[in-house]
């Protein structure tokens, strides 16, 4: 019990300092890169199944649940019950949303960099190209 109390005290102390020095834990860049790659994989699986990328309006939530059937043309009966990605997977390590856009018809994923804003020079970005196998 004493160890747990000491741990809680240290956790609070380290947490306060850590909020400024390493806000989301260690190796943030690597973890964000892996999260972007995970969303990229889910998008490729979505593309292979449905023959197109989610529209900008559908966004990344199309990976979590079937878009409105009447507008999307997607057969929700065939949409995986689990979705293609968890909603947690659509956020970076710090809990901020990963941004989705179509550029020239191809997806671009962006996670905010250290400045916390999307659209600035320190963003982490993946551009996805359709491969011959569709994956």
């Amino acid at each position: 019990m004493r160890s747990a109390l000491l741990g809680a005290l240290l956790l609070a102390t380290v947490g306060m300092a850590g909020c400024r020095s390493e806000p989301c834990g260690h190796a943030v860049e690597k973890r964000d890169a892996l999260r972007l790659e995970t969303v990229s994989r889910a998008l490729r699986a979505w593309h292979a199944a449905h023959g197109r990328w989610p529209t900008a309006d559908e966004g990344l939530m199309a990976l979590v649940r079937c878009p409105a059937a009447s507008a999307s043309g997607i057969d929700c009966e065939r949409f995986p019950a689990t979705g293609y990605a968890t909603s947690d997977a659509l956020r970076d390590v710090c809990g901020r949303s990963i941004h989705y856009a179509l550029v020239g018809g191809q997806p671009r994923l962006s996670a905010p960099g250290p400045d916390g804003e999307v659209g600035t020079g320190d963003d982490r970005v993946i551009e996805i190209k359709t491969t011959p196998t569709g994956r």
């Binding site: 741990g7 240290l10 020095s21 390493e22 989301c24 943030v28 892996l34 689990t82 994956r135």
Partner: protein, 241 residues
């Protein structure tokens, strides 16, 4: 096994459940079991270890991502697997830091990273931390790449798209990812650690360190060659639905 405070039980149970599921999937878990037995595991607002009190802190979403671990849809476990193996590597090195041969591995590793070049053009100011992060990054990355290939195989099999070409593409991506040799960062700048930036090194990890981690922590289950991974063998082209 040490006693656990009630607030740590949930995190410990979820960590233990993860170990059981990972073992079933063919992942190396022996060193995770050591951490589960000897470290207090709690949920917090960052993923980290507190070595002085043998405490592993995991974020709720890190543990949540590997609840009911499965390589099938939905995607979402990879970053959490990286994190769990990364932090557990720090914890394991801490547990064994004073014993042979780990003490020697650490001493050699820190010597290797002394004054190592960083991507910002400077040399590291903290070889101890750079060694620790290189080891954690190596183990975490190997497992993250392993998981990505397993998930790609499982999803392709489940959706009936595991052709020879698709399997070859997954194998190629796996082997390219596992050929990575540079790992780790050191915190630079700031005052007393506050405001420091994580700057990656440009120095490759030493062969001896990688061989040690491959053998002892990864139990030889994460080889660089796709065909040598036992867990991938059940996914042949045309398997699945």
């Amino acid at each position: 096994m040490r006693s656990r405070a009630p607030d740590a039980v949930s995190a410990w149970m979820r960590f233990t459940d993860f170990i059981a599921a990972a073992t079933d999937l063919g992942m190396p878990t022996g060193f995770l079991q050591e951490i589960g037995a000897d470290y207090t595991i709690v949920m917090g607002d960052k993923d980290a270890i507190l070595p002085r009190i043998d405490m592993l802190i995991l974020r709720r979403d890190t543990l949540g991502a590997v609840d009911e671990l499965s390589p099938d849809l939905p995607f979402g476990e990879r970053s959490a697997i990286y994190t769990l193996y990364h932090e557990a590597t720090h914890a394991w090195l801490d547990l064994h830091a004073d014993a042979s041969p780990v003490a020697g591995v650490i001493a050699d590793g820190e010597a290797h990273y002394t004054d190592a070049p960083l991507t910002d053009g400077r040399a590291t100011s903290d070889a101890h931390r750079l060694f620790q992060e290189a080891a954690g990054d190596y183990v975490g990355s190997r497992m993250a790449h392993w998981w990505a290939a397993l998930a790609d195989l499982a999803v392709a099999a489940a959706t009936g798209t595991l052709t020879e070409a698709r399997r070859a593409a997954i194998a190629s991506a796996y082997e390219a990812a596992q050929s990575e040799t540079v790992f780790g960062y050191s915190p630079e700048g700031g005052l007393l650690g506050i405001g420091a930036a994580q700057v990656e090194t440009e120095r490759p990890a030493p062969d001896e360190l990688r061989a040690f981690l491959d053998c002892v922590l990864l139990e030889g289950k994460v080889p660089s060659g796709f065909a040598a991974v036992p867990a991938f063998a059940r996914f042949s082209a045309g398997s699945g639905r």
